[in-house]
């Protein structure tokens, strides 16, 4: 934003480092509308998603309705996150002090490249060639499995859904349920094809699929020397890390190996131990629709004779400081990754997560991914929403996602304007910018609006000449052809409201019987 016309000076976030290109999974291969078009044509995907999201929506709604103080809890969650993010530096240093004091080692990673290097070196230092993993989106964000593979280390996903994704050579499509796009018949086929030792006659009942995964994973847990996890929360006051999960695989990964490496985005820190009391109520109800989650593992550094002998905490920035520098945008860092916004989003429900191109899909992904990568690398995501507001209502920490989407659209438009101002001879404003400027000019005066309304009535000429068969417009030129591809457009009326008013606004019975 150039600082003219009394506007506030350009914010500092413009120069902040973002998540680097060429590593990790924050950017899609194509813009959202193109990826979405393909996803919409996949009938199996549409069916799987509709079934899964409607089931989890109903469960969430039921358990949220049970709590009379749900709105107070949301407000508390919002306040705690706002406090943590407002004093992020202080709480991160406190966390480091506490983790170190309890025998852990803290590593600061500027971006995905640094984080991967730190983790690869740590695993190599143990001499292990295999590591078991707890479900972790942040390790997917940085492309850790690829980095480990390049170093000759095999990463074993142990969360059932992550295992399905890994065995299927697939990508996660949901924050909480990475294989939500698969139904059980597809999962059975993946297991039969890819899982060493799987029964060729494996059935697709949930019990049989779970038993097969259990037998396969148990061998991995018992032989693993290194465990890798993400974190749901890190308590600055005590240095305690927390992972919540449903299957117990996480507990195994966090307690059995000699070495535990935890990667967390710097926004996961919360100030106090007591704050967990709020999030332990908000998170399970919002995510899985459960009153409490089955497994909650908390650990503070290392304890002799109990659990891992070595604990490493990798604190990851990867564009988060850039988001923090934007006073409006930083709200996205409050997210606790419950995925409630995905499950209520009518766009996500129809396209699935892959269309967003990032490990963070859905409404929260549409406001988080562009901030981590820089808007221009994910410019289509803030527009991947009808601004219906269902996400805001569902968010347990009250992130105003619709307003953030609009804010990021504005940043995108302003960035284009800056490029135009920087190179006025080479940069040609897009058709949209011209249309918007023209519309603003028309709306800038009632006389101009009335003139434009009269001009639009030209569309009625064929009707008056008897050449149009309908009172509807069936086809319009681009860009409005995108509308008439599936929807009729209204024919401009013989008289605008303004004209009717000017002519004395005479009301006649039956006169209102024309409809959109």
């Amino acid at each position: 934003m150039p600082g003219n016309r009394g506007e506030r000076p350009a914010p500092a976030f413009l120069g902040m480092p973002v998540a680097p290109r060429g590593v990790g999974h924050l950017r899609g291969a194509e813009p959202f509308p193109a990826a979405a078009r393909k996803a919409l044509a996949n009938t199996q995907l549409r069916r799987n998603l509709a079934k899964a999201t409607s089931t989890i929506r109903a469960k969430r709604a039921a358990v949220v309705a049970e709590l009379p103080d749900w709105e107070d809890l949301r407000a508390a969650g919002q306040a705690i996150k706002a406090e943590a993010i407002a004093h992020l530096g202080r709480y991160l240093e406190q966390l480091e002090e506490q983790v170190t004091a309890h025998g852990g080692t803290v590593h600061w990673a500027r971006d995905a490249i640094e984080a991967n290097r730190v983790i690869v070196d740590l695993v190599r230092g143990t001499g292990a060639t295999e590591a078991v993993k707890v479900k972790s989106i942040v390790t997917d964000e940085i492309g850790l499995n690829d980095a480990l593979a390049a170093a000759g280390i095999t990463a074993r996903e142990t969360d059932l859904a992550e295992l399905i994704v890994q065995l299927g050579h697939d990508r996660p499509s949901h924050i909480l349920v990475p294989a939500i796009h698969r139904n059980r018949a597809e999962i059975r086929d993946i297991f039969r094809r890819e899982m060493a030792g799987a029964d060729p006659g494996l059935s697709d009942t949930p019990a049989a699929l779970t038993a097969a995964a259990r037998a396969y994973l148990r061998r991995r847990f018992l032989s693993a020397r290194v465990g890798i996890s993400g974190a749901n929360f890190a308590v600055a006051e005590t240095g305690t890390l927390c992972v919540v999960e449903s299957e117990g695989n996480g507990r195994m990964c966090l307690t059995l190996p000699d070495t535990l490496i935890t990667v967390m985005g710097i926004e996961k820190v919360i100030p106090r131990w007591a704050d967990l009391g709020v999030f332990m109520q908000l998170l399970p109800r919002s995510s899985t629709g459960e009153r409490m989650n089955p497994y909650t593992t908390m650990w503070t550094g290392v304890a002799p004779g109990d659990g891992p002998r070595e604990f490493h905490l990798v604190l990851l920035d990867n564009g988060r400081t850039a988001a923090l520098a934007d006073p409006a945008g930083r709200q996205a860092l409050h997210c606790i990754r419950c995925s409630a916004c995905l499950n209520v989003c009518p766009v996500y429900e129809r396209t699935g997560g892959h269309a967003y191109g990032s490990v963070y899909p859905g409404p929260i992904g549409a406001v988080l991914s562009p901030q981590l990568t820089g808007i221009e690398d994910n410019a289509s995501l803030p527009y991947a929403s009808s601004l219906c507001g269902a996400c805001y209502d569902a968010c347990p920490v009250k992130i105003d996602i619709p307003s953030l989407l609009v804010h990021l659209r504005a940043r995108h438009v302003e960035a284009a304007g800056r490029r135009s101002a920087a190179a006025p001879t080479r940069w040609v404003p897009g058709a949209e910018a011209i249309t918007m400027a023209a519309a603003a000019w028309v709306m800038g005066s009632p006389a101009r609006l009335a003139a434009a309304q009269r001009a639009s009535r030209a569309a009625r000429v064929p009707a008056r000449l008897g050449r149009a068969r309908h009172d509807r417009i069936r086809r319009l030129p681009p860009p409005l052809s995108a509308w008439t591809a599936a929807r009729d457009a209204p024919l401009p009326p013989a008289m605008t409201f303004r004209e009717w008013w000017q002519r004395g606004h005479v009301v006649q019975p039956g006169a209102e019987r024309e409809s959109p």
Binding site: G6, A36, Y383, A390, L449, H505, P509
Partner: protein, 248 residues
Amino acid sequence: MRIALFVTCLADTLFPAAGRATVRLLERLGHEVVFPQAQTCCGQMHVNTGYLRDALPLVRRYVDVFEGFQTVVVPSGSCAGSVRHQHEMLARRFGDEALARRAAAVAARTYELSQLLVDVLGVEDVGAYYPHRVTYHPTCHSLRVLRVGEAPLRLLRKVAGLDLAELPDAEVCCGFGGTFALKNADVSTAMLADKMRNVLATGAEAVVAGDSSCLMHIGGGLSRLRAGTKAVHLAEILASTRDDARAG
């Protein structure tokens, strides 16, 4: 009561029947309706597409035109939502504190039609007659930005002759979303397909809502399919009387 009508640029240009019905309804209820002719547009399309600077003069115009009135009515949940929740924010973003304060004051006196009727004027039975089976679509901004709640349904339940059918998954967006319908036309159409399926399942002759924009979307889809179900603005139903049925 003297009520200023902000008819919205969309209703003015393409759906004047919704504006005329609003005038007729409020006059029938004994109120004086005025139409300040300097009005144009709330600026929501510009804001939601990211063109905030272009929207600022429209905010200023809205405030200039309407701040002299005690009560402003808007036959659109979406445009009323923009006035209530975007104008002040926008003025502040561009550092115009004075405009932000004025915008907030006018916004507090700006009401969506059903809110004005039920919450301000305290009326539910407006003496309407509409002998048809209809279903109500609560538009997203009426529901989740303005929180009009049950107000439109309470009005519809009191309309004589009206057979109100419950719309399945009513609270799900129809897929309009302003320029979303063009920028993400495929997703928008997929959402519309599900909305139309639910509307048609009710067997209603008309789907009613408080926003001409969403009605243009749903109605445009139904018309393309020759579905035999039309889209009608809430104001048109509330303005209808037995005389209309006879004249009809």
